[in-house]
Symmetry: C2
């Protein structure tokens, strides 16, 4: 399911005027008199973070505001892992790569005796957790490339529908943060296009982005490899995924990916680690109203706590360094405390 | 101005039902009883080309048709130069590059004595026309890179608003083909997303795509270079355009760009040269209803005629080879004859 589109045309004014009435009639928007009572962010506690979001949306959509942003410029970008869903103790796309190793070894038996595949096949969790970044890159290259883009999507789709997170015993796609789902919806209801800008595999995230977030594949920017064009035995054209990097969508690669895929500087950006720093700086570098937010994982009971800013030891993933925390404070970015700002974490929990 | 977006939400069914009524009320769609009388393609003569487009749209949007395509899969891609607007005698983005040479030389005076800049500065049209592809690449690299993405956009915008085509004495953005504008609108009115997939510079086309075609920047795929992230003297982040190729959006680069930017195989694709061949083959390679069309420039009076299929000598641009023509006939692609299929070429001409 994805958003509906009405094309721009000469009767656009009529459409816009009528759409407001239609939206109210369908319960999409509360009528203005009741608007003050309805809360677009019910899973958020009152506080600076919630207020920053509401103030930004109001200022940028009010034609009389000096901070008004025309609809065609309303772009918001969201990191995924740790910002929109759980990234701890391991990124889901890495989990997928590890789960795919047996199938890869079946197709290429000589890999069974080659590291890091040998370690993964043992199933020894502690040994697997100790694999280096370089080892993980090898595993991702072997499991994400060498097949057609259609085969990759079919396999990844199957996995996302069956694999479960070990702690919550639910599909990963249910481990999205309910308060962030509300932000996505709130922004879209106010004319924003909401993009995922992830360091994870672009083709991987596109498999479930519509179902998990209401975001269509073309609004997912991620780390991507090159593809090779060729023909099958029936002469039909297809693309094969190559182990050659096209875009490393981390750090400065995020603004580069945003420029390449969207062509506009975002007005709002959400992240949770140093990998998102340049995306937030790029967002902040534009004129007019800009919103930069960072999710802080400080809730060891309901989710996880990690990163120096929490006073807890840092981990491999989601590095929210003290330097990033200091930059946020200095530049007026908003830090979201999962513990204090969110009434609930997941959609499957009882509504507040 | 761009398309409106309504986000998917629990009241979607109500919205969809009501939207049809609303669309009729606003004159966006004719009521069904009058639909047979209204013509979505008034600048097209009746014939196989027009029929192919209408048949495709009807089959893919009729829920009871075996060829029905769900709205989220409705992707159509269009080459630009020679398919959506005039490319003869020189691509507009090359014209822009040539026009920018004096400014580049002013900033870097030593280039005045270096070829091919020296030749361009003479203004000698015949000598300029003889520049090699390699020379043109040097000129494009020098004029399209080395500045911030914002500076490039501002300069290109200024040029598209003032520069004029020598034959028609009008801005290039008015030299779009009216029959193709109708196809774009007809597809969008039927739930298709219409992408430009151009061998021209992505950042260049994005400057005017909304105004010229109603296509927002994020729906333009084109040849693109890398960018470098840095900070200005006030500490604000910006991107600089680098002379390093990220995507060569020609030939097999078109399907690669489509997969990277859209993530789906198109259901319809329109081109006019061998540079579009793989895009059409990739489109044809999918299951279900697919539409592949090629614009043939065979109208020396109202526009231009070139390419072997016209019986006329080939030129540097828009190579519509006999081999491509034969492939189109063999594979059931439709060749659009500008001379026979189009009642008028441009929007500024008298309506038929």
């Amino acid at each position: 399911m994805r958003s509906l589109r009405l094309s721009a045309n000469p009767s656009r004014r009529c459409m816009i005027a009528s759409l407001a009435a239609l939206a109210v009639a369908c319960g999409l928007l509360a009528p203005i008199s009741a608007a003050a009572e309805s809360d677009p962010l019910p899973s958020w506690n009152d506080g600076a973070a919630k207020q920053a979001i509401v103030d930004f949306v109001k200022a940028t959509t009010d034609q009389s505001s000096p901070k008004f942003v025309p609809p065609e410029d309303r772009i918001a970008t969201f990191d995924q892992d740790g910002t929109l869903w759980v990234e701890h103790p391991i990124y889901s796309f890495v989990m997928y790569a590890l789960d795919r190793v047996p199938a890869v070894v079946k197709a290429k038996p000589h890999l069974a005796k080659v590291e890091p595949f040998k370690t993964v096949l043992t199933g020894d969790r502690e040994a697997i957790a100790k694999l280096s970044l370089h080892d993980l890159e090898k595993i991702i290259a072997a499991t994400f490339t060498g097949m057609s883009v259609d085969e990759f999507s079919a396999e990844a789709k199957k996995w996302t529908e069956t694999a479960q997170d070990a702690r919550w015993k639910r599909p990963y796609t249910e481990l999205t943060y309910q308060p962030m789902q509300e932000v996505l919806q709130y922004l879209r209801d106010n004319g924003y296009k909401t993009y995922i800008v992830t360091g994870g595999g672009q083709d991987f995230v596109r498999v479930y982005s519509e179902k998990a977030y209401g975001i269509p594949p073309e609004e997912v920017v991620g780390t991507a490899g090159r593809t090779t064009f060729s023909y099958d035995k029936n002469g039909k054209a297809f693309l094969t995924k190559d182990p050659k990097l096209l875009l490393n969508d981390n750090d400065a690669g995020k603004p580069e990916g945003i420029h390449f895929m969207i062509g506009q500087r975002p007005h709002a950006a959400f992240g949770n680690s140093t990998g998102d720093r340049q995306m937030l700086e790029y967002t902040a570098g534009g004129d007019g109203a800009r919103l930069e937010m960072l999710v802080l994982h400080d809730d060891p009971t309901r989710e996880y706590a990690y990163g120096p800013a929490t006073g807890l030891p840092d981990t491999k993933v989601g590095t929210f360094t003290q330097a990033l925390y200091d930059e946020a404070k200095k530049d007026g970015w908003t830090v979201i405390s999962m513990k204090n700002d969110w009434k609930r974490i997941f959609g499957f929990e009882t509504a507040p």
